[in-house]
């Protein structure tokens, strides 16, 4: 079972940021296996990281481990779609619509 490392880039404490963070937490709960980690980065505090990743849109979620890195943008309102885009395995029994949107 792979262990995932996810980085979420947001701007400040806007409703959109909060929504993306909540949706990411929900996604983490539904990932199959254990030991996955995630990190939330506020670009207003660390703009140089946005520069380094050459980000344009926020929120942006990057799966950094396992390689290669893959990213999605948006408030992550569809957990299944996020998992599909990043190639993440969800635990069985995950039901669509459990995330906030």
């Amino acid at each position: 079972m792979p262990k995932y490392y996810l980085k979420l880039f947001v701007i400040g404490r806007t409703p959109r940021s909060q929504l993306a963070i909540a949706n990411l937490q929900s996604l983490m709960r539904h990932l199959s296996g254990a030991g996955h980690e995630f990190e939330v980065i506020d670009i207003l505090e660390k703009p140089e990281l946005a520069e380094q990743e050459r980000l344009l849109a926020t929120p942006t979620l990057i799966k950094t481990v396992p390689a290669p890195p893959v990213r999605v943008i948006g408030d992550l309102s569809d957990t299944q779609a996020v998992a599909d885009a990043l190639g993440l395995e969800l635990s069985t029994g995950h039901a669509r619509g459990s995330s906030h949107g």
């Binding site: 701007i11 959109r16 949706n23 670009i43 207003l44 140089e48 926020t58 943008i73």
Partner: protein, 506 residues
């Protein structure tokens, strides 16, 4: 009154781009965003880069370049030809890139739910703060629309970026694509949200020749010159706008006369040419136009003036040899610093480039007299419209320097006729001298007349002249010939004159 006060409240920032500030009445509106729109290849990126480069070079203002299309490495390399050392400026903290270009490793990014361009805005703000930027360029907006599905979101985000930049007190250039040279201002309706100030760059194919122009379409609440102005891109300099009519014509008409170098011509003109006038010498090939130029230069040197000649028809060797044949030593004049000879093939570059280099030569050598031999040779390499703009640009520049300009123009037919050159230039010339072949009794002779001499009486006769090793000799008027100027000289017998047939039509 209120309008005036409003207009004067918009400050301008001089871009430092050669000629642009003249047509923009001082520069770009300060602390606002100006949209610079153009088709592919219309020099949008050069303009956007030059706005920052001139800020650094001329005004010590730092800049941020946001690139959506070309990676920074390409821009650094492409701009080296203009002597803009972006690498060094980056190292010195004067220029900073925000790289928003697509890198090959960028895969298709899925969008899940709502998003905005907050990350981009944060990066731009970070970059501005890092170098204390006063100028920002975003190049070009079309590329960002192609990367995100939601065009409405992009539009409102660009508006937000423009508003934020205003808050940072920076002056901004945003470039955008156009599909056609004459049509919608920009693709994606970009102008709807940054519509206050619009500049349009064009690269039009006209009579199989490329012609670049620039137009300030609008500056909200501020004045600017209207219409299209020719533009050229020069190595080592970048974009140069040729302001033409925007050149302020504050020349005063001088009463001071200068010698044409030929005593009889001075007499015909009522005492010589005026010091700050434009003289056109027109005639068929071989009638003696280059000879008049040669005398004009020698006359200047004799009066201890500096003379500059642009020769587009003959090589330097030919010119010098001709002059020697007429008893005039150009080499000696050069040694004394009285003469500068610039020979060029008309075909080596476009007319805009010729104009820029001619103006540069005049500015450097600071002559009292300028001669161009011939204007017609330059006409070959241009469109009608381009040529007219060139002539206006050159004459207004020469008048601005308050020096004398003598241009030659070759008529297409040997006998009589006018050239297109004359049609464009006759109204802006102060004096016109016509040279004509005159066929009498199966013999070709040469005639000359002063057709126009603004602000002075002049000889209305058509005089015969000859050419020998001492140059030009002007003789008596043709008395018994009519129709010389029309190109069909008819001899009139003494009897006819007696009968008074001359005054009868037919």
């Amino acid at each position: 009154m209120d309008k005036d006060r409003h207009v004067s409240s918009v400050q301008k920032v001089p871009t430092g781009i050669n000629g642009f500030d003249a047509i923009a009445n001082g520069g770009l509106p300060s602390q606002r965003t100006t949209l610079v729109a153009g088709t592919a290849g219309s020099a949008k990126t050069v303009f956007a880069c030059q706005f920052l480069a001139e800020g650094i070079i001329q005004f010590g203002e730092t800049g941020v370049f946001v690139t959506f299309e070309e990676p920074p490495s390409d821009i650094r390399r492409n701009m080296q030809g203009f002597n803009w050392d972006i690498d060094t400026w980056e190292a010195e903290g004067k220029w900073v890139f925000v790289d928003a270009s697509i890198s090959p490793s960028d895969q298709e990014i899925a969008a899940i739910g709502h998003y905005d361009l907050g990350a981009l805005l944060a990066r731009i703000e970070h970059a501005i703060a890092k170098v204390g930027a006063k100028r920002v360029s975003l190049d070009s907006l079309g590329a960002i629309f192609s990367r995100f599905q939601d065009s409405n979101m992009i539009r409102s985000e660009l508006l937000r970026i423009a508003m934020t930049l205003k808050r940072h007190n920076v002056t901004t250039v945003m470039t955008a694509e156009r599909n056609r040279e004459y049509g919608d201002i920009a693709r994606y309706g970009v102008e709807e949200f940054v519509s206050d100030n619009v500049v349009i760059l064009r690269n039009v194919l006209e009579e199989e020749k490329r012609r670049r122009t620039i137009e300030v379409l609008k500056f909200r609440g501020a004045y600017h010159q209207k219409g299209e102005y020719p533009l050229t891109i020069l190595p080592g300099q970048g974009v140069t706008v040729i302001p033409l009519s925007a050149i302020e014509l504050r020349q005063r008409s001088s009463e001071v006369r200068i010698s044409s170098g030929v005593g009889e011509i001075d007499e015909m003109c009522g005492g010589g040419f005026f010091r700050d006038s434009i003289i056109l010498v027109s005639g068929a090939t071989g009638t003696g136009k280059t000879l008049i130029v040669t005398h004009f230069l020698a006359g200047g040197a004799l009066a201890e003036e500096r003379c500059l000649v642009f020769a587009f028809e003959e090589s330097r060797e030919q010119l010098f040899r001709n002059a020697i044949g007429w008893g005039i030593d150009f080499a000696e004049m050069e040694r004394q610093g009285r003469l500068m000879v610039v020979c060029a093939y008309p075909e080596v570059m476009g007319l805009e480039d010729h104009l820029v280099s001619m103006r540069a030569a005049i500015a450097t050598f600071k002559p009292n007299r300028v001669a161009v031999d011939s204007l017609s040779a330059l006409e070959r390499v241009s469109t009608v419209r381009g040529f007219r703009e060139f002539v206006i640009g050159l004459t207004s520049y020469i008048k601005h320097q308050e020096i004398a300009g003598l241009f030659t123009s070759t008529t297409p037919t040997l006998l009589g006729g006018t050239s297109v050159t004359e049609a464009h230039i006759s109204t802006i010339t102060d004096s016109i001298v016509l040279l004509r072949y005159v066929e009498i009794d199966g013999e070709m002779r040469r005639g000359m007349t002063v057709l126009k001499m603004r602000g002075s009486r002049h000889d209305k006769n058509i005089r015969e002249f000859s050419i020998d090793e001492k140059g030009m000799h002007v003789g008596k008027p043709f008395r018994n010939v009519s129709g010389i100027l029309a190109g069909n000289p008819t001899q009139i017998s003494a009897e006819d004159i007696k009968k008074g047939q001359l005054i009868q039509p037919g």
